[in-house]
């Protein structure tokens, strides 16, 4: 019996005015019945191009110099558009990265599944609707009948992704491509989706291609893993072997870059001096205001809470990690500490009381710097790097020698060439831009730098080098960090203490040793268990094993 999906010697180019650019180079891949193959690569590696090539969804400038893509022995590259349309959704399905955008906002969820059944299985609408309800139940959606009638904005991210998965499985296809299906989801939701994937994979014996940038995750959901780099498959091994016995240099570098909680990157925690550097005492942030009309109608809703009486402190030279899902209030806290959000409660800096934004003077601002998640947004697109970096120098002083020398030194500190000073941000790569943002934060020689998800928009290897840079700067300057992230493995590598936030509350604050020994709070445990660890480890999602059941939506404090 031939493999379900067989790609041999497949090459793909994109034509451009400057000549053809090779996207995929002599790809060989095969996936058998019931098998899950993980495809791992960084952005620009060609992993998404391969998915489009398999789905026969290529842009007009795509050129295919050679190779074949076969589905159960049938050549796909020579099929007509009509034949492909009849095949998509029926014999080969796809699950997308962001369920928030891959569902039509103006159609009910049920309709978006039922239309596939009507089209490919020639069911009547009533049959399709009934079948759809059964599918919804099967992917673990509660109250499937109601969910069928809901619109995407009325469902949570996890529920929407379940709908997309149900749609992909609707016609019992031979092969399904999963394109980063958990990347846009919160940690615990992502874990539930992974469990669902494993369950359906085992039940249906579909051949799956699981595409991801996350080597640790792929190694746990797939039987075999292929690593793609610059359009080439550089290594293909069993999931167990990829971490323990990598052969290819790129794979080795990739593995080294994957955050491994078992490998500490930062030094020991500083000995507490008695006076914390920064202390938040019962800091609360509220968003929004109730409209007069709502008040008039007696519907004065409770104001949205960003933070509820959060108290924590950072010692000089300490790295305090803050973890939590989106909406947990971790960025809100960062904004309160930098004077971007009004807050109640008080902040103490070096023992000095700061009761509000008005108390944040130049000395405080100079000492507390922030780096944002998206360097695209945090660097003004109309200023050259030189202007961006010289601004804090002008503001806080403390430079010696001419301004351009100081800028060059700042660039050198973050390992960027001095001539970048003349460039605009859009002429730099994502990692380089983030380095500029870090250089800007360090220009004032601050004592605390707040890092708000600064690595989450970056590729794994770029992330690793940025983290390395941060630790290097910390060792040189003794700077304390408030490191906000959703990446638990990363924070376990570098933080001395970890604060866990959930829906605006600080639920647990513990030393890294305590965390490794086993956290006490249920939510912290769920969070840690949800994340796959790179090597074997404790949280394997074994394919075919039943998932431990959904984690309840709320956690007591």
């Amino acid at each position: 019996m031939p493999p379900v999906l067989e790609i041999s010697n497949y090459t793909l180019d994109y034509a451009s005015p400057r000549g053809d650019a090779r996207a995929l180079d002599a790809i060989d891949l095969a996936i058998g019945r019931g098998e899950a193959l993980g495809l791992v690569g960084e952005s620009g590696s060609g992993k998404t191009s391969l998915a489009w090539a398999i789905m026969r969804y290529l842009p007009g400038n795509a050129r295919e110099p050679g190779g074949s893509i076969k589905l159960s022995g049938e050549e796909l590259t020579t099929k007509t558009p009509a034949e492909i349309a009849a095949l998509r959704g029926r014999r080969i399905g796809m699950v997308f990265q962001d369920p928030g955008t891959s569902l039509n906002p103006t159609l009910p969820l049920g309709e978006q599944l039922a239309e596939v059944l009507v089209r490919h299985r020639a069911l009547t609408r009533r049959q399709a609707w009934a079948e759809g309800e059964a599918m919804f139940a099967r992917v673990g959606l509660k109250q499937p009948a109601q969910m069928m009638r809901r619109y995407p904005h009325e469902a949570s991210g996890g529920e929407k992704q379940r709908v997309v998965i149900a749609t992909a499985f609707a016609c019992n296809p031979e092969c399904i491509l999963f394109d980063e299906p958990t990347t846009a989801l919160d940690v615990i939701t992502a874990r539930q989706i992974l469990d669902l994937f494993a369950e359906l994979q085992a039940e249906t014996s579909v051949a799956s291609l699981y595409i991801s940038h996350d080597l640790a995750l792929v190694a746990q959901v797939a039987h075999r893993v292929a690593v793609i780099h610059r359009g080439r498959i550089v290594e293909q091994r069993t999931a167990a072997g990829i971490f323990t016995n990598p052969r290819n240099d790129y794979t080795k570098r990739l593995i080294a870059a994957v955050p491994d909680p078992g490998r500490r990157l930062s030094g020991a925690a500083p000995i507490p001096s008695g006076v914390p550097l920064v202390e938040a005492r019962a800091v609360s942030v509220h968003y929004g205001r109730t409209s007069r009309l709502a008040t008039f109608f007696g519907r004065a809703r409770e104001r949205v809470v960003g933070n509820r009486a959060v108290s924590l402190s950072v010692d000089p030279g300490e790295i305090l990690g803050i973890v939590g899902e989106s909406g947990s209030g971790k960025s809100t806290l960062a904004k309160a500490l930098t004077g971007l959000n009004p807050f109640t409660g008080e902040i103490r800096f070096d023992g000095r009381r700061i009761g509000g934004i008005a108390d944040m003077d130049k000395a405080y601002r100079r000492n507390v710097q922030i780096v944002f998640q998206h360097p695209d947004a945090s660097l003004n697109p109309r200023q050259r790097i030189a202007e961006i970096l010289s601004r804090p120098l002008a503001l806080y002083g403390g430079q010696d020698g001419p301004r351009d020398m100081a800028v060059a030194r700042l660039l050198e500190q973050v390992h960027l060439p001095a001539d970048y000073a003349r460039r605009y941000p859009h002429e730099l790569s994502g990692g380089e831009k983030q380095r500029v943002a870090i250089a800007r934060a360090f220009a004032s020689k601050p004592r605390l730098v707040i890092c708000d998800e600064i690595t989450s928009a970056l590729d794994v290897s770029v992330q690793a080098s940025v983290v390395e840079l941060l630790l290097d700067l910390q060792r040189r300057h003794g700077t304390a960090y408030l490191f906000i992230t959703h990446d638990i493995n990363l924070v376990r590598q570098i933080a001395h203490r970890i604060a866990v936030m959930y829906r605006g509350d600080l639920v647990e604050l513990l030393d890294i040793e305590q965390l490794e020994a086993g956290p006490r709070h249920r939510y912290t445990r769920a969070l840690i268990e949800a994340v796959p660890r790179p090597v074997g480890g404790t949280t394997n999602i074994t394919i075919g094993r039943h998932s431990p059941g959904p984690i309840p939506g709320g956690f007591d404090k």
Binding site: G339, R366, I370, A377, S378, R391, L395, A437, S444
Partner: protein, 274 residues
């Protein structure tokens, strides 16, 4: 500037729009010098003539040279439209920025009022104001400027609010920058570009609106050679010479097309990320 022109020439809209607008600017500057005849000299013997070597575009009901009148009229029409747009943009930008800056209930009150004012159609508003002020070019400029201000205020405010939420502005606030620096150096360069694009598109609209006011008798007054007025006067004689209507109509359309194309071209050229 050179860089901007180079970027403009990359898109067909930008290249064509820039060429047309540049041509119009040249005509405004040197038009009266290049005009073959005096625009107001009447020649009873050569009335209603079609194009000829002596009168390239023909003559009107008094035997005046249409080409010369158009060349002189370029100033009346285009310069006035530009002034009106500039007036409306400045007033609108101030109101919009103020509204975005004040925020909260003040912002809401200002924008609701702007919305309300915008529910008076531009031409009607301009008519009412022109009627209030009087019948002259300057009054028409004021009328169009005032009619444009609410729309520009709305656009300025929305752009300013978008920019205000960007992290580079947050970074500047967190750094402790002063208000003047944040507004002038961080926000303004990013706010100005979309306003320039919108203003350019509005010049096209202002040219048409100004000509329409003149056409309706509320803008430039005879014997001015304003293009809308030329069309209005020529209507009575269109049986005798269609050229009299055709040329000023084409001139208005050409200038409006030029500014419309230039505006769309600028939208691409002023985007730093392309």
């Amino acid at each position: 500037m050179i860089e901007l022109i180079r970027r403009l020439l990359r898109t067909p809209q930008g290249a064509l729009g820039l060429s047309i607008v540049a041509l119009v600017l040249v005509l405004i500057l040197v038009g009266p010098l290049a005009a073959p005849h005096d625009p107001d000299t009447m020649a009873p013997l050569v009335r209603y003539k079609g194009p000829s070597p002596a009168y390239w575009l023909g003559t009107d009901q008094y035997g005046r040279d249409i080409l010369s009148r158009l060349l002189y009229g370029a100033r009346a029409t285009v310069v006035m439209a530009f002034l009106a747009t500039a007036l409306g943009s400045i007033v609108g930008a101030v109101v919009g920025t103020l509204s975005a800056f004040l925020g909260g209930r003040a912002d809401e009150a200002i924008m609701r009022t702007v919305d309300a004012v915008m529910s008076i159609p531009s031409l009607l508003f301009a008519l009412l104001i022109a009627n209030l002020l009087g019948k002259s070019s300057v009054d028409a400029v004021m009328a169009i400027g005032i009619a444009f201000a609410p729309g520009m205020a709305r656009i300025t405010r929305s752009v300013a609010l978008t920019v205000r939420k960007q992290d580079y502005v947050h970074a500047a606030i967190a750094r402790g920058e002063g208000g003047a620096y944040i507004v002038l150096r961080e926000m303004l360069p990013n706010v100005v570009a979309p306003i320039i694009v919108e203003a350019t598109l509005r010049i096209a609209f202002a040219v048409m609106l100004f000509a329409t006011l003149s056409f309706l008798g509320l803008g430039a007054q005879p014997p001015a050679s304003e293009w809308g007025l030329m069309v209005a006067e020529a209507r009575r004689f269109m049986h005798l010479s269609p050229w009299m209507i055709l040329w000023p109509s084409l001139a208005i359309a050409l200038v409006a097309i030029g500014f419309n194309l230039l505006g769309d071209g600028l939208r691409d050229a002023l985007n730093p990320r392309t």
